[in-house]
């Protein structure tokens, strides 16, 4: 990994992608974890082919929280599945730690929207969290430490022996987050994790995500269709177009690390960005129109 690190010095940084001054981190400028370059995805071939993703370009740097928001049906899930290596892209370049993604890469964890299908109902909460650790070659003590620490972090200490089916939806999603945390990924992908959770629990879980991000210094890529959520959580928001999907714009969210459900959402900066994203999504053009426009410009 250190070898790969040296590939990307500050000089290799593409100009214009990161206008904000780097946050003061001991390692110097943040390295790019995930690099998506002109990614396309087409379902099927021939005349019946459907181009879901037309041109997706953005990157995620170490320690960053990036959210992806877009109109419904814009291929958010296709994009995330491709980035997780579950589905090969049909075009463009997709790199994780400077390695081209062909299969699910090491160092990546995912939290899915459907916790019911994603947790294993026959395993206890604790065993669910432990399950992915068992091939990492950790010693038993370290394994146990990670399990306890993650469950503690998501506020589920004391529920180790319960089965997922005994927990509410919000608590089950906490188990899924704990499982991802215990795995210690370099990046955590979240696919609309709170879409099927009631509003109040959802706010708690959003704050939980911010908390564990801080605690574990986690890099997050968060897909959502909820505009408030995308702005509230993220350092940068990637706004998608309608299909065939392209990136409309990437907005910085200069709200600092500390966020609060009430005060942050009253902040004029939040309101302004939120409005901007909302307008872009309501008036979202189809990607191919946008591409044609850009080409003619």
């Amino acid at each position: 990994m250190t070898v790969q690190l040296s590939h990307r010095g500050p000089a290799a940084e593409r100009p214009g992608t990161d206008p904000t001054p780097p946050t003061p981190r001991p390692e110097g400028p943040a390295m790019t974890l995930l690099d998506i370059d002109h990614l396309t995805h087409t379902y099927g071939t021939g005349p019946g082919a459907h181009m879901a993703l037309a041109d997706i370009t953005f990157d995620v740097k170490q320690g960053e929280f990036v959210s992806i928001v877009g109109p419904s049906g814009c291929g958010k899930t296709t994009l995330l599945r491709t980035m997780a290596g579950l589905m090969p892209p049909t075009g463009g370049d997709l790199r994780f730690l400077d390695q081209r993604i062909t299969d699910v890469p090491e160092g990546l964890a995912m939290v899915f929207q459907d916790y019911r299908g994603s947790l294993f109902p026959w395993l206890t909460v604790e065993s669910n969290v432990r399950f992915p650790l068992q091939h990492l070659g950790l010693d038993k003590a370290e394994e146990q430490r990670r399990v306890s620490e993650s469950l503690e972090a998501v506020g589920l200490a004391g529920n180790e022996k319960k089965y997922p089916g005994q927990l509410s939806g919000g608590m089950q999603q906490r188990v899924a987050i704990a499982r991802a945390l215990a795995y210690r990924p370099k990046i955590m992908l979240m696919d609309e994790p709170f879409a099927s959770i009631d509003a109040q629990t959802r706010e708690d879980l959003e704050d939980l995500v911010l908390k564990v991000r801080e605690q574990f210094d986690m890099t997050m890529l968060f897909v959502t269709h909820d505009i408030d959520e995308s702005v509230y959580l993220a350092d940068r928001v990637v706004v998608l177009s309608k299909p065939s999907t392209v990136v409309q714009t990437i907005l910085d969210v200069p709200l600092g690390r500390h966020r609060d459900q009430i005060t942050t959402k009253e902040d004029p900066v939040f309101i302004q960005i939120r409005g901007e994203v909302a307008r872009m999504i309501r008036n979202a053009p189809a990607g191919h129109e946008l591409l044609a426009e850009r080409r003619s410009a």
């Binding site: 899915f112 089965y163 005994q166």
Partner: protein
Amino acid sequence: MSVNTTTAPVTPGTQPHAVRRGLSIATRWIVLVGILVVWQVSTMLMDNPFFPTPVKIVQKAAVLWLPGPDGLLTRSMRLDVLPSIARALTGFGLAIVAGVALGTAIALSRRLEGFLDWILQFMRAVPPPTLFPVFLILLGTTDQMRIALIAFGSVWPILLNTIEGVRGVRPLTIETSRVFRISPARRLFEVILPSAGPKILAGVRTSLSLALILMVISEMIASSSGIGHQLVQAQRSFAITNMWAGILLLAILGYLFNLILTLVERRILAWQRESGRETS
């Protein structure tokens, strides 16, 4: 049942439920005793040699199969009951192993499934006892023949349920194990099979009764041992009470096997019962 009693706290609200429960258990026993009394009395009144009294049947069964005062197994226990149980369990065990292995392979390979689906449905429709002559010709009057018949006849519910169960594993469940880079072996044994577990076990339960039926049938013809053989011998020698005792023994065996299977199933599927009960 023992699980429920340990977890249900006695509160005033649950009292009527407990009373109702006790009543229903009492009713069950009263009905059972009533049936036995009617049976005993009517057979005594009839005094027909073809219908011995239940007391006589039980006495005969005790003589035939309970260890004598010397503590040794009786002849019929050694020559009929134990070989029968051994055949049934061996055949049933083979059916489980073959059914789960083949079913998983078929369900995981879309191509195999397309080829085999209708063939399996067709083969399953053949009543297993009709294959007895075939097996007899192929394997002779051996234990292997009987075990093969039991296995072949009882494999279908396990096989078809395994196919359905494995096919029914949610794509997201598989995807989750892919994201966490779970090895194919762990994916199979620790994700796919447990996920299909409830379906597979339902098939196993159906297969058990088939295995017992086929055990008896396979021993009725061209056999010199087994409960089926004992039954036919008793009938041929007009030892009517022995015949009834054999039927009673089969009922008890069937009940016991089913009970054991239920207990195993409860252990394996404990999570389902727990999940049905929302705490908090």
